[in-house]
Amino acid sequence: MIYKILLTIWMNLIIAAVFLYVEPAAGFPGEVSRILFFHVPTAWVATLAFFLSMIASCVYLITRKVNADFLAQSSAELGFLFCFLATVTGSIFAKATWGSFWNWDPRQTSIVMLLMIYGAYFVLRSAVPDHEKRRVFAGVYSILAFCTVPFLVFVVPRITNSLHPEDTLNPASPGMDMKTLIFFLGSLCAYTGLFVWMLRLKVRMLRLLDREQRAFRSNF
């Protein structure tokens, strides 16, 4: 309980600081760079969630423990949510810096690809009526999809040049002052904490649902 309250306070502190305390990063027009304190953590959480989902799928396929599948499913759903948020925030940022919401930058291409893969993943889940089969198929599909990602990383940058700022908000780069760095990392941690919290809620929900079905069955 206590860490959730701490997380809430920490999150609000970060927001206040990001808007009112930190100076805008150099190299971006006006106050635009402030969105990066939200955009980068969402993208990071999305990556983390999808990766976790893939690992959990593998674990499910090997052990056939339902809990692993609950984790895979919850993680994929949250990853999708955060991926969507990253797309929206990134798009707003793109409009402010490059002048258009969408221009098929490699990063944008790969994020759309991820959204499509996991969109298909949810469609597949909803299309298989048998529970066990659904879990296996979802796991297999997510592994198969994961195998195509390296190609995307390798292929897409060959097509267009990236305008995506790589170094401006890289914590290791010297361009970032101490204050920015602290709150940037703080935001990353806060988002990760939030993800863990939401993930556990979702897993518990799925477990309850499963439990309910089992209970219904044993009434016979």
Binding site: K4, T8, M11, I15, L20, G30, L201
Partner: protein, 45 residues
């Protein structure tokens, strides 16, 4: 500092408070449901 920033920060704070409040409520309701079905043993206090 631009004048609009305070307003944006306030809006953000309200949204975030809403989200965390929702999560807390969800947490409590789940805990109740878990207690009712007797599966809260595995979870945190």
């Amino acid at each position: 500092m631009k004048s609009g920033l305070g307003f944006v920060a306030a809006v953000n704070l309200i949204i975030w408070s809403g989200i965390t409040l929702y999560l807390f409520v969800l947490d409590r309701r789940l805990k109740k449901l878990e207690q009712r079905s007797g599966m809260d043993v595995h979870y945190e206090k």
